[in-house]
C-alpha cells in the first residue's frame, strides 16, 4: 500500500511542476465549485479535469484505486440530495417518504457532478506530487513554519506503518480469543479494542520518532534545505490553467443562468 502512494516512475508533465503552483490551481478550481451547487459549472470543470488526466500520468483504473472513497461519497451525496431535497417541478419518483422531483433531481445531479469535480483535482494533485516535495514547497515558497510542515510529513510516513500494524494487532488479538467476527455489537467492541491497541503503538512509535528527529538536530531555529523548491515556466502554465478552468466554469454557469450561490439559498 505504501508503494502505491509514491511517485516512483511517474514521469508525467505535471509531476515536474512545483507542488505549490499545482496546489494553488486546485484551490482556485475547488473554491469556485464550492460556491455554487449547479451542474453547469461542475460539468465544465469536470470535462477540463478529464483532459488533464494524462498530463498527471493518471489512468481511469488508477483513479478508481486511489480515489474510490471520494467517488463513492460523491455518488451517495448526489443520490441522497435528489431524494431528500425539497421537491419542485414534476414528481418523477414517489416511494412513500422518498420522492424525487425534477427540481430535486437537478440539485442531486449538480451535487454529484460537483462532488466529482472537487474530488478529482485533489486526486490529480496527489498522484503527481511527492509529499516531500509538497512539504519543501510549503516551507520554502509559502513560508509555512518548517517545524509544522516537516513534523506533519514525518507523521504521514507513520500512517503507512500503522496500516500494517492494524493487521498485525487484529491477528494478535484473535490469537488471544478476541473475535473480530460475530454480530454487530461484538464487531464494534472488537474494533474499539483493536483501535486502543493501535493508539498505544502509534504513540510509542511517534515518541520514538520524535526522539530520532530531535537527536538529528530538528527543532532549532535556522535550517538549510537540501532540495531547493523552484518555480519554472511550467508553473505559470499550471496556475494559468487553474485560473482558466475556474473562470470558464463560473462564466458558463452565470451565462446559463444556473449559478446558485450556496449561502443565498434557492
Amino acid at each position: 500500500m505504501r508503494q502505491e502512494l509514491t511517485l516512483h516512475g511517474n514521469h508525467a508533465l505535471l509531476a515536474r511542476a512545483n507542488p505549490l503552483s499545482k496546489f494553488v490551481a486546485v484551490l482556485l478550481i475547488t473554491a469556485v465549485l464550492a460556491l455554487s451547487i449547479d451542474w453547469v459549472s461542475a460539468s465544465v470543470a469536470l470535462v477540463f479535469e478529464l483532459f488533464l488526466f494524462p498530463l498527471a500520468g493518471l489512468t481511469l483504473s488508477l483513479l478508481w484505486q486511489r480515489g474510490w472513497p471520494l467517488i463513492v461519497a460523491a455518488a451517495i451525496g448526489g443520490w441522497s440530495t435528489s431524494i431528500l431535497a425539497p421537491d419542485s417541478g414534476r414528481i418523477l419518483l414517489d416511494a412513500g417518504i422518498w420522492t424525487m422531483s425534477q427540481g430535486s433531481l437537478q440539485l442531486g445531479i449538480g451535487f454529484l457532478l460537483r462532488g466529482f469535480a472537487i474530488a478529482l483535482p485533489a486526486v490529480l494533485l496527489m498522484s503527481c506530487t511527492d509529499p516531500t516535495d509538497l512539504a519543501d514547497a510549503l516551507a520554502q515558497k509559502a513560508r509555512l513554519p518548517h517545524r509544522f510542515v516537516l513534523g506533519t510529513l514525518a507523521a504521514m510516513r507513520l500512517v503507512g506503518l500503522m496500516a500494517e500494524e492494524w493487521q498485525t494487532i487484529g491477528m494478535a488479538r484473535r490469537a488471544r480469543g478476541v473475535g473480530s467476527r460475530g454480530n454487530l455489537a461484538q464487531r464494534v467492541k472488537a474494533t474499539l479494542g483493536q483501535s486502543f491497541g493501535l493508539l498505544v503503538q502509534a504513540i510509542r512509535r511517534a515518541s520514538r520518532l520524535a526522539v530520532t528527529m530531535e537527536a538529528r538536530g530538528f527543532g532549532g531555529g535556522k535550517r538549510t534545505w537540501a532540495r531547493a523548491s523552484t518555480f519554472s515556466v511550467l508553473d505559470l502554465w499550471v496556475v494559468a490553467g487553474g485560473v482558466l478552468v475556474a473562470a470558464l466554469a463560473l462564466v458558463a454557469a452565470v451565462t446559463a443562468g444556473t449559478w446558485n450561490m450556496v449561502w443565498l439559498g434557492s
Binding site: R2, G160, V178, R208, V211, T212, T224, A228
Partner: protein, 515 residues
C-alpha cells in the same frame, strides 16, 4: 552535487564527563541514574553493560541532549537532575549535532521517505550549506555501504539492517564527535547484526569519533570497543559505576556476575532444562499439517468481479506439527517465516494449498483452522507474537491471564501455576504495558498458555531478550514439549533451536533483495 567537493566540518572527537550526575524521570520515585562519575576521552569506544533498570538508555538520551519532557520554556517537567553531565565541557542540550543517537526500532530511525532526503535531514537541521549537504550524503551512504541505492530509493523498501545503516548515515552526515547506539541490533537477524556492526566499525576507523554503545550481546561489540563500563541500578549508597576497564579484564573479573545479571557474555550459553526424551522425527500424534501451502500477508484484491490472489512470499511449503515435537522455522529475513507460521496458526488465510487440523486437534471444530472462531482457536492453537504489547487486551496482569479461561469457561485454576512458574507473582496488579521487556515476554507466553492449547506457535520469542529470560523460556518450553504440547517457533536463534531439539524447516529467500 559533486561527491568530491569539500563537505566541510572534519570530525572532532568529543569528550564526556559526568560528576555525581543523576536523573529521575518525571513521575517516578526512584532515580534512573544516581551519582554517576564517568570520564570518556575523545575517540574512546565504550560498551555500557548492566541489568535492566541500570539507566543505560537514560544516560545515552542525556548525552544526545534529548532527555526529559521538555516544555516550551525549556524546563524539564518535574523530572529531577543532579550533578553535571558534560560533552566537551558543555551541556549536551545546548550542542545540537555534537552527538548522534541510534535507537532500537528500525522503523522509527527513518524520518523521510526517500533515502537521500533522510540522510540529508540532520545536516539540513544544522544549517549546512546545500552543496556540502549532498557531498556529505554521498560520502555517508558510501561509508555505511548503501552507495548502490539511488537517492530517491524508497526507505520503506529497506530491510531492518539497511534501515539501521541508513540511520547511521544520517548521523554521520551531521559529523558528530560522539556516536551513541542504544541496542542498535536488538531487532535484527544475525546477518543484519553484523552488517550494522561492521558499518559502525568502518565509520569509527575513518572519523575517530567517540562511541558509547548499549547492547546485551557482548560478543558482537567486544572486539570493537576498548573499554567496558558496567552500571548498576541507582541507589543512594553506592556509585552508579560497578566496573570499568578493558573488555578482557572486565569480562574475566565479572563474568559470573554479568552472566547472573542476564548479560550475554561471550561463549556463554545459559544452562537450560534438557528434554526427557526427544522423540524421533515423524513420531507423536499428528496435529496440524500444511500441504503445498502458499502464504502472503496481503489479502486478495478485487478488480471488477475478478478476485486477484496476492503474490505469495513463500510457495509449496509442506510441514507437519506433531504432539511433543518442536518444529523450528528458520531462514533469512524476508523469506516469509512469520507469514507461514501465522497461516499455520489459523490467523492468515492461505493463498493456495491448505492447512488441515487432525481430528485429535480439531475436536469437532472443522478441518480448517482459519475458519475456527476465536475461542475455538485459542484452546487448540496458541500464538505468541514477536511484540508482546500487540497481544495485551486488559489493563492488569491478572486479568490478562484470566482472559482466555474466562472466555472458554474453564482453566482458571491453571493461572496461579503459570504466574508462579513464569515469575509474575510480584506484578499481578500491574498494568501489562509497564512491565520490563523480559516480564512482557513471559506474560505473553503465559496468557496464551492459559487457554491450554495443544499447539504453541512462537514468532521470534528470544529477540532482544537477556540471557536469564532466554534460559527460562527454553526450559519452560522443553517442559511443555515433554508434556505433549507441540511447539512451532520462528527463530534465528540456533542455540534456542538446539535447546528444544526437534525438526528444522528451513525456508529459502523468496526473492532476491538488494544487499
Amino acid at each position: 552535487m559533486v561527491p568530491s567537493q569539500d563537505a566541510g566540518g572534519a570530525v572532532r572527537p568529543a569528550a564526556v564527563s559526568a560528576r555525581g550526575w543523576g536523573w529521575r524521570h518525571a513521575g517516578r520515585s526512584r532515580p534512573a541514574v544516581h551519582a554517576l562519575d564517568l570520564d570518556i576521552a575523545p575517540g574512546e569506544r565504550v560498551l555500557l553493560l548492566g541489568p535492566s533498570g541500570a539507566g543505560k538508555s537514560t544516560l545515552l538520551h542525556a548525552l544526545a541532549g534529548v532527555l526529559g519532557d521538555i516544555n516550551d520554556d525549556g524546563e524539564s517537567g518535574d523530572a529531577d537532575e543532579s550533578g553535571s553531565l558534560l560533552v566537551d565541557g558543555a551541556v549536551p542540550r545546548a550542542q545540537r549535532g555534537r552527538a548522534g543517537l541510534m535507537q532500537q526500532d528500525p522503523e522509527t530511525q527513518v524520518v523521510l521517505s526517500r533515502v537521500g532526503d533522510d540522510v540529508a535531514f540532520g545536516a539540513e537541521n544544522l544549517a549546512v550549506p546545500r552543496d556540502a549537504i549532498w557531498a556529505r550524503v554521498h560520502e555517508a551512504l558510501a561509508d555505511v555501504g548503501l552507495a548502490h541505492l539511488p537517492l530517491d530509493h524508497p526507505t520503506s523498501a529497506l530491510s531492518g539492517g539497511q534501515k539501521q545503516r541508513l540511520a547511521l548515515a544520517g548521523i554521520l552526515a551531521m559529523r558528530p564527535g560522539l556516536i551513541l547506539l542504544d541496542e542498535p541490533t536488538a531487532n535484527l537477524d544475525p546477518d543484519g547484526v553484523l552488517e550494522v556492526r561492521d558499518a559502525v566499525a568502518r565509520c569509527l576507523d575513518k572519523t575517530g569519533a567517540t562511541l558509547v554503545v548499549v547492547e546485551h550481546r557482548v560478543s558482537v561489540w567486544k572486539d570493537l570497543v576498548d573499554r567496558i563500563v558496567v552500571l548498576q541500578p541507582g541507589s543512594s549508597s553506592e556509585s552508579a559505576v560497578l566496573l570499568d576497564g578493558p573488555p578482557d579484564r572486565v569480562l574475566r573479573e565479572a563474568r559470573t556476575m554479568l552472566a547472573a545479571a542476564g548479560v550475554w557474555v561471550p561463549g556463554y550459553v545459559p544452562a537450560t532444562r534438557t528434554r526427557d526424551l526427544v522423540p524421533a522425527p515423524g513420531t507423536g500424534n499428528l496435529l496440524l499439517a500444511a500441504e503445498q501451502l502458499a502464504v502472503s500477508r496481503e489479502r486478495p484484491r478485487r478488480k471488477g468481479f475478478r478476485r486477484i490472489p496476492p503474490v505469495p512470499v513463500q510457495d509449496g511449503v509442506a510441514a507437519q506439527v506433531r504432539a511433543g515435537q518442536a518444529l523450528a522455522v528458520t531462514g533469512p529475513n524476508g523469506a516469509g517465516k512469520s507469514t507461514f507460521a501465522l497461516t499455520l496458526a489459523g490467523l492468515l488465510e492461505p493463498v493456495s494449498g491448505k492447512v488441515s487440523a487432525s481430528l485429535d486437534l480439531s475436536q469437532g471444530a472443522g478441518i480448517d483452522p482459519y475458519k475456527w472462531k476465536a475461542e475455538q482457536l485459542i484452546s487448540r492453537v496458541g500464538t505468541v507474537f514477536q511484540e508482546p504489547e500487540h497481544q495485551f487486551v486488559t489493563g492488569k496482569v491478572l486479568d490478562e491471564l484470566l482472559f482466555g479461561p474466562r472466555h472458554l469457561g474453564h482453566g482458571e485454576e491453571r493461572v496461579d501455576e503459570l504466574l508462579e512458574r513464569l515469575r509474575l507473582t510480584h506484578v499481578v496488579d500491574a498494568n501489562p504495558y509497564t512491565l520490563s521487556g523480559g516480564e512482557k515476554r513471559r506474560l505473553s507466553v503465559a496468557t496464551v498458555l492459559a487457554a491450554s492449547p495443544q499447539v504453541l506457535v512462537l514468532d521470534e520469542p528470544t529477540f532482544g531478550q537477556d540471557a536469564n529470560t532466554w534460559a527460562e523460556l527454553a526450559s519452560f518450553l522443553s517442559e511443555l514439549l515433554d508434556a505433549g504440547t507441540a511447539v512451532v517457533s520462528v527463530t534465528h536463534d540456533a542455540e534456542f533451536t538446539a535447546a528444544l531439539g526437534g525438526v528444522e524447516l528451513r525456508m529459502a529467500a523468496a526473492e532476491v533483495v538488494a544487499p
